[in-house]
């Protein structure tokens, strides 16, 4: 009845989880800033170590997760370590884990929250090959003093358009975390992006 070996979680689930949470908080409150993840677990199949760290810090049994095909090898790991229910219905997802940033699903299928509960919008975790600052797309908005530039390799351009248009729906919308193998940068729903 034994199960094949799985990648382990954090060495110290509470402390490591809090450190990663702090990093996510920093990245989300300073959009476009590239924040290294202070703790990385063993790399599970299908994921970056960074996405695994964020999953361990944020997901639990009350957050249904939608996986793209590239992330599906991580299904067992996610169920084991996070206890998260996996959902095939984008409409039920609290988080979407998109391991292949070059092939985005139809992002409009994910909930954007409701006026009473704007926090019920899906958080999109999108893996990219690399993140670069100082070039690429111009970002403005809360958390950015004047403007900043962010670029991502291995990311479908459609994401930038989606976020640019999403500004009209504020305070509803999607919060996005772009995950390179060891760092993240965030595009919260408040971001102002020119097409």
């Amino acid at each position: 009845m034994s199960v094949p070996s799985l990648a382990t979680g954090f060495d110290d689930p509470v402390q490591d989880g809090q450190r990663v949470f702090r990093a996510v908080l920093d990245a989300m409150s300073r959009p476009g800033r590239i924040v290294p993840l202070p703790r990385l677990p063993e790399i599970p199949a299908g994921l970056h170590a960074s996405s695994a760290a964020v999953a361990l810090a944020l997901l639990d049994l009350e957050t249904p997760v939608w996986l793209d095909e590239a992330a599906s090898p991580a299904a067992k790991w996610l169920r084991f370590h996070c206890g998260s229910p996996l959902t095939a219905a984008a409409g039920d997802a609290a988080f979407a884990l998109i391991a292949d940033g070059t092939r985005l699903p139809d992002l409009d299928l994910f909930p954007i929250g409701t006026p009473d509960y704007p926090e019920r919008g899906t958080t999109l975790l999108i893996q990219v090959a690399a993140l670069a600052k100082g070039r690429g797309h111009r970002l403005r908005g809360p958390g950015i003093e004047h403007e900043t530039f962010l670029d991502a390799e291995g990311l479908d351009e459609a994401l930038w358009r989606h976020m640019a248009q999403g500004r009209d729906r504020f305070p509803l919308g999607h919060d996005v975390m772009l995950l390179s193998p060891d760092a993240l940068a965030c595009l919260p729903r408040s971001i102002i992006l020119e097409d």
């Binding site: 199960v3 639990d60 049994l61 009350e62 169920r79 084991f80 206890g83 229910p85």
Partner: protein
């Protein structure tokens, strides 16, 4: 007008140090241990677990110690602590029929199968202060166990009535999601799932008073304690990674099924209806009160007219939680200097107006 309040920091630190000293009391008296509290103040621990909504005897005992025995404060502490823990699982519904019974009585049938089992009850004590306890309570009697254990099969009283079709059946409700007011705020009308959760967490004194009101005529419910049972039940979860149920331990609970007369309605024949109470630990008064109030709140589904306070769902449920209630009452002692300043200005102005008017009237009277 804006009045800034600063500079209380040292005073607050000193107040907390004073509180800690008061908590400890006379240092010549031995300090209470958590096991002493959980063993010897067991029912206080049970109440804190029920209303604090966390089953953990040691944590509840710690909360009681820290709160200097103030149970409502202890409940608040436990509620605050629970928010620091992740929820790892949701249990399968408890099977109270499979309870390892310590007490089980019925006020409706004396000869129920399996018998009436009194268990560790205050009933039939004379309520005389026992001064041997004051003298360190020597001579604790050792109860003589019976030769045989209780029957494993103790059918529910409701099932006995059911055989005649005289009582409503409690069908397995709709399979929909189970409401959880620790996750979603309570909205009205509330389903029975949310009502029972709110009552289980609700203040015992408040529910006791409401339950009592239904008996005194604020509600026409004619309740009988159909069955009260207390004992251990097993808690079972289905871990995501295993896919089958596993037992993680046991909890002691008290369950009360009230049986109420029901005259019938256009759609339902006259029969007995049921009210349900369930609480952690030995908490009979709480479980009984909860069952009375649960039945009163079912008026809508049974087609009864809601005329008394205990049937008013919004009133009952909005005021049941001691943590919310004490928070709102006690916030009144926090600085309201700004609010009060504006009230002062207003009252002074009104007063000046009233005096001016009186002057004027007096003046015109004198002229006449």
């Amino acid at each position: 007008m804006y009045v800034a309040i600063k500079g209380g920091e040292t005073a607050i630190d000193n107040a907390h140090a004073l509180l800690a000293e008061k908590r400890r009391g006379n240092p010549a008296v031995p300090e209470l241990s958590l096991t002493q509290i959980s063993e010897q103040m067991a029912l206080a621990v049970d109440r804190v677990m029920t209303e604090g909504s966390v089953y953990d005897r040691e944590l509840a005992a710690l909360a009681i110690k820290q709160a200097r025995g103030d149970l409502v404060e202890a409940i608040f502490l436990l509620r605050a602590y629970r928010t620091t823990l992740p929820r790892l699982a949701t249990s399968e519904p408890l099977d109270t029929a499979a309870m390892a019974v310590q007490r089980r009585i019925s006020a409706t049938f004396k000869d129920l199968p399996g018998g009436q089992v009194l268990g560790p009850t205050f009933d039939y004590t004379h309520r005389l202060l026992d001064f041997t306890l004051a003298a360190n309570g020597q001579d604790v009697p050792t109860p003589e166990p019976a030769d045989e254990p209780l029957s494993a099969d103790l059918p529910r009283v409701a099932e006995l009535l059911n055989q005649e079709g005289l009582i409503e059946t409690a069908e397995d409700g709709e399979d929909g999601p189970v409401g959880d007011l620790t996750r979603e705020p309570l909205t009205f009308p509330a389903g029975r799932d949310l009502r029972l959760q709110a009552l289980a967490r609700g203040d015992e004194g408040y529910l006791l008073a409401l339950g009592y009101s239904t008996q005194r005529g604020y509600g026409n419910s004619h309740p009988f304690a159909g069955e009260i049972r207390m004992g251990e039940v097993t808690v079972e979860i289905v871990p995501e990674e295993l896919g089958f149920p596993v037992e993680i331990g046991t909890v002691t609970v008290t369950e009360c099924e009230m049986i109420n007369q029901f005259k019938g309605s256009k759609t339902q024949p006259p029969q007995f209806t049921r009210g349900y109470g369930l609480a952690f630990g030995e908490a009979e008064r709480k479980a009984m009160s909860m069952a009375l109030v649960d039945r009163a709140l079912r008026c809508r589904e049974l087609g009864e007219e809601a005329t008394v306070p205990a049937q008013d769902e919004e009133f009952v449920l909005s005021h049941a939680d001691s943590v919310e209630a004490q928070g709102f009452v006690q916030h009144l002692k926090l600085p309201h200097y700004v609010d009060f300043q504006s009230e002062l200005v207003l009252v002074r102005a009104l007063r000046a107006e009233a005096e001016a008017r009186a002057e004027q009237e007096k003046g015109s009277e004198e002229k006449e």
